[in-house]
């Protein structure tokens, strides 16, 4: 179904973007990447951001995740107006509310799976016992409890991505952002990772925003939002 307005249905919005714009500057030349982005995404959504290269989907994801700032408009994510937060406040906000899943996993090679997943918890003030419990739960959720002490080099790509997902959810964030999470995986591992993300959405109620080129991956989302040259092109509700 194609929507005329970018309203993704009922529920309290967890992400609200009002006239968001983002430009980069090359010398004196302004290069607009996103323009006039207006959207409300309800909590518990699973969104696939799609579009050709240069359409602005990763930029939009970065703005929603609070690792980049817009040049215009406002963003309210997880109950916070991001424009009003300074860099340190934004960092604390990300730790509390956002989990990141990257294409290349980005695990720290000198830390084992347990330590990699534990990293975001070091900022929360959780005690050692609590950290151990939460890391154990997160790794169990991604079926890697038996690989707790393995280092990234000892894991397959799929396992590495599952450790990265455990790291993303260990602080129990409201929002997961994923940039091409299956881009570096073979079909079997990609399917496992996507199934896991789907479970996080349906069973734990996590809101997921995923950038992908892969129609198969996008099919796991509930809505697909297509961007074209920095503006919304269309949304598609996925029938599963």
């Amino acid at each position: 179904m194609t929507a005329d307005r970018f309203d993704l249905g009922g529920g309290e919005p967890i992400i609200t973007l009002r006239d968001v714009a983002k430009s980069y500057w090359r010398g004196a030349q302004e290069i607009p990447v996103l323009q006039g982005i207006d959207i409300e995404i309800p909590a518990g959504s699973y969104i696939a951001l799609m579009g050709p290269s240069g359409s602005g989907k990763t930029t939009l994801l970065n703005l929603i995740a609070g690792i980049d700032r817009p040049t215009g408009g406002s963003l309210e994510v997880c109950g916070h107006e991001l424009n009003g937060l300074d860099d340190d406040e934004l960092a604390s906000w990300r730790n509390a509310h956002v989990g990141f899943i990257f294409q290349n996993y980005n695990l720290v090679p000198v830390l084992n799976a347990f330590e990699n997943v534990e990293l975001p918890l070091l900022l929360t003030g959780a005690g050692r016992r609590e950290r151990r419990e939460r890391v154990g739960q997160a790794l169990a959720l991604v079926n890697l409890a038996d690989q707790m002490w393995s280092y990234p080099r000892q894991l397959s790509g799929g396992q590495e991505q599952r450790v990265a997902i455990a790291r993303a959810i260990v602080t129990d964030p409201d929002l997961l952002v994923a940039d091409e999470p299956t881009g570096a995986l073979d079909a079997k591992n990609a399917e496992e990772v996507l199934a896991l993300m789907e479970r996080l959405n349906t069973e734990l109620g996590k809101t997921i925003v995923m950038v992908t080129h892969d129609p198969k991956a996008a099919h796991h989302a509930r809505h697909q939002i297509h961007l074209e040259k920095g503006v919304f092109d269309r949304t598609v509700e996925v029938n599963r």
Binding site: D68, F102, L111
Partner: protein, 388 residues
């Protein structure tokens, strides 16, 4: 896992690089610590507080020229002078020419009074001094020298002359302990032995060492003594003992400038090496730093983590370097101390340790701060796009 474990694991990311940088720091700090300690040792030679009341009177033309012993009477008459000791460098060796140590023919009657601090006079009994005074072929030796050669009181030490054609056999009558090890590497015997064995030395001596009552009197006394003997056949050069010692140190050249020059070169080199290594290490972790920040680590916290790595790395190098220098100091005292007595006092003093560690830590901070600060100011999105 706590912060220290995280820092440690990051440091061990490239063990070879970490070992190489620590190794280069160990060598640099070792070099600086040893060189600065050498400077401190030489400085102590020329700024000995025990020497502040003593003057050395010698021939104006140099140490190889002699002065009449009769000059001693004039020196004694000066109201500022407490005691005078005639001393001649003998330059003999024991058994092997390589077994070199300082040995002097000296006026036994005034020796102890003139150098009472060096002889640790409070630890010497009247009876011991009398034993030495009674035996014209007697000698006294410092404890370090006695230990090195396995000597004890009563042993006979045959000394082979290199400057004078005599080889006296001397009986040890006293082994003294001095507050400073360098003052224990010495042997004194009666001046008479030299005068009687070497006819040309009859009535002559190389130098007089005068002890004054007050150090403030010294400048006036120096001027008066040299003026008194001016235009005589034996003109004098009178100077403080520290100035006399300085003239020996100067024979090594402008050693202070050389040492400071080498130290500066080592410090600059290590700043460049450490800075380049840390910059490379941090640049390689651009993506990881961006991921840390995306997870919620503030730029300040990442900066502190990176600085801690740098400081720990350089601090370890500095600590090991100072420890190595401390070990080497023992070797230097043992090997060079006998040949050059001031080396017997060679030590890595606390202020040198502190300066080396503080310097190393400052280098660590400086070398890490610039690349770390730049890395934490880089936009997260740029870091995530970086390769490596």
């Amino acid at each position: 896992m706590r912060w220290l474990a995280l820092i440690w694991k990051s440091l061990m990311r490239s063990k070879r690089r970490t070992l190489l940088i620590v190794g280069s720091l160990v060598l640099s700090v070792f070099t600086v610590a040893v060189l600065q300690s050498l400077l401190t040792t030489l400085d102590a030679v020329t700024n000995n507080p025990n020497s502040s009341n003593r003057l050395v009177v010698r021939h104006k033309s140099g140490l190889t020229q002699m002065l009449p012993r009769s000059y001693e009477a004039y020196l004694r008459q000066q109201p500022e002078v407490e005691t005078v000791c005639a001393i001649q460098w003998f330059g003999g060796y024991y058994q092997d020419p390589r077994n070199f140590f300082a040995n002097f023919a000296s006026d036994e009657t005034t020796l102890f009074q003139t150098f009472r601090e060096e002889f640790g006079i409070s630890g010497i009994t009247e009876a011991q001094i009398k034993d030495y005074l009674r035996d014209g072929a007697g000698c006294i030796v410092g404890e370090s020298l006695a230990k090195k050669n396995g000597w004890k009181v009563g042993d006979v030490v045959p000394l082979t002359g290199t400057i004078f054609p005599i080889s006296p056999r001397l009986t040890i009558r006293l082994i003294f302990r001095s507050p400073k090890p360098s003052d224990e590497n010495v042997l004194h015997f009666h001046y008479k032995v030299l005068e009687e064995g070497v006819p040309r030395m009859k009535g002559l001596v190389g130098s007089f060492w005068a002890r004054t009552r007050r150090s403030e009197d010294i400048p006036r006394l120096i001027e008066r003594v040299d003026r008194h003997f001016a235009n005589s056949a034996y003109e004098t050069l009178t100077e403080t003992e520290n100035a006399f010692n300085l003239s020996f140190v100067r024979m090594l050249g402008n050693i202070g400038a050389i040492i400071q020059g080498i130290t500066a070169a080592v410090v600059v080199a290590i700043v460049i090496v450490t800075g380049n290594t840390m910059a490379t290490a941090i640049r390689e972790r651009a993506t990881e730093i961006a991921v840390f920040r995306a997870m919620g680590f503030s730029a300040g916290r990442v900066l502190v983590l990176l600085l801690s790595e740098g400081v720990l790395l350089v601090g370890a190098g500095g600590l090991f370097g100072v420890m190595l220098a401390h070990l080497a100091a023992g070797g230097i005292r043992g090997s060079l101390g006998a040949a050059m007595p001031f080396f017997a006092d060679f030590a890595i003093l606390p202020h040198t340790v502190f300066a080396c560690l503080a310097g190393a830590l400052a280098i660590g901070m400086l070398a890490t701060f610039i690349p770390a600060y730049a890395a934490t100011r880089r936009p997260i999105t740029d870091g995530l796009k970086a390769v490596g």
